[in-house]
Symmetry: C2
Subunit: 119 residues, 2 copies
DNA sequence: AGGCTAACTTGTGAAATGCAAGTTAATACT
DNA sequence: AGTATTAACTTGCATTTCACAAGTTAGCCT
C-alpha cells in the first residue's frame, strides 16, 4: 500500500513529475471518464471498454483522491452509489488529454485503424 | 520481446490508445529529452536525472523507432555515436508534453516543492 | 430481517521493471 | 597494425506492479 503524499519524484522536471503521478495505463483513463461523464461511480468505471480490474481501480481512486484530483460527490456520505467527480486540479488535465487524443487520432490511425474521432 | 506493430489496443478511444503506447514512466521522458536537445545518443539518455536502466532504454528506443516516433540521425550508419532524433510524429507530441508540464508546475508544487519552472 | 448488490479486499500467478554484470564492435591511440 | 577503450547494447535474476478470480462487507429495498 502506498501513501501518495510520500511520492518518490525522479527529478525536479515538471514533465517527469507529471509522469511520476499519471504515467501509467489507468490513471488518465479514470480522468477521461470523469471529463466525459461528469461523475462516475465505482461500478460505472468498471463498465468502460478498457476493462480496469477492481483492485487497480480502487487503488487509483485512492491515490487520485489523496492527490486531490478527484473527490466524492458527497464527501461525508457512505461509499455506496457515492460517485466521484473532478476537483479543479483534475479538471485542469483536460488540455493535456485533448492534446494526447488529437495526437493519437492523427498519428495512430495507420497502426490502429478502428480508432475513433473525437467530436 | 515485443513487435510493436501488433499492439493490443484496449479500445478505439484515442486517449486510451495514446496511453497504450506512451502510458508508462519512460517513453515520454525519451521524447522530452529529444524535444529539449534535438538529438541524443544512447549514453546521453542515460545521463538524464531520471536514471533509466539500460535494458528499458534499449527496448523503448526500439519500440519508438518501430512506431516511427524517433529515428537514427544516420539511418544506415553503425549504432556507435549514432544519435536519435524525432520524426514529425514524435515532434508532434510537443503540445501534449507542454500541457502536462504546465499542469504539473501548477498543481504539483504543494506535493513536490523542488519542481522547477519551464522557461 | 433477509436478500441483493455496490464497493471494495485478498490471494496468487504473470508481466513489467530495476539492477548488476557481461558482450560486441567501432573508434582512438601508439 | 595491433591494442585499449568505450558506446551500445544483452542477459540473468530479484523486486515490484498488474491481472484475474474469488471472497467479504455494508447499505438499501421490500
Amino acid at each position: 500500500m502506498m501513501k501518495s503524499q510520500e511520492f518518490d519524484w525522479r527529478s525536479a522536471c515538471p514533465i517527469s513529475s507529471g509522469l511520476d503521478l499519471l504515467g501509467d495505463k489507468w490513471s488518465l483513463i479514470i480522468i477521461r471518464d470523469l471529463i466525459t461523464h461528469g461523475t462516475r461511480t465505482y461500478s460505472e468505471f468498471l463498465e468502460s471498454p478498457e476493462q480496469i480490474s477492481t483492485n487497480i481501480l480502487a487503488e487509483r481512486l485512492r491515490m487520485l483522491t489523496s492527490m486531490n484530483l478527484i473527490e466524492r460527490v458527497d464527501p461525508n456520505g457512505a461509499a455506496r452509489n457515492n460517485a466521484f467527480q473532478l476537483t479543479p486540479s483534475g479538471a485542469a488535465l483536460r488540455p493535456t488529454l485533448e492534446a494526447l487524443g488529437n495526437w493519437s487520432q492523427k498519428y495512430l490511425k495507420s497502426f490502429h485503424p478502428e480508432i475513433v474521432s473525437l467530436d
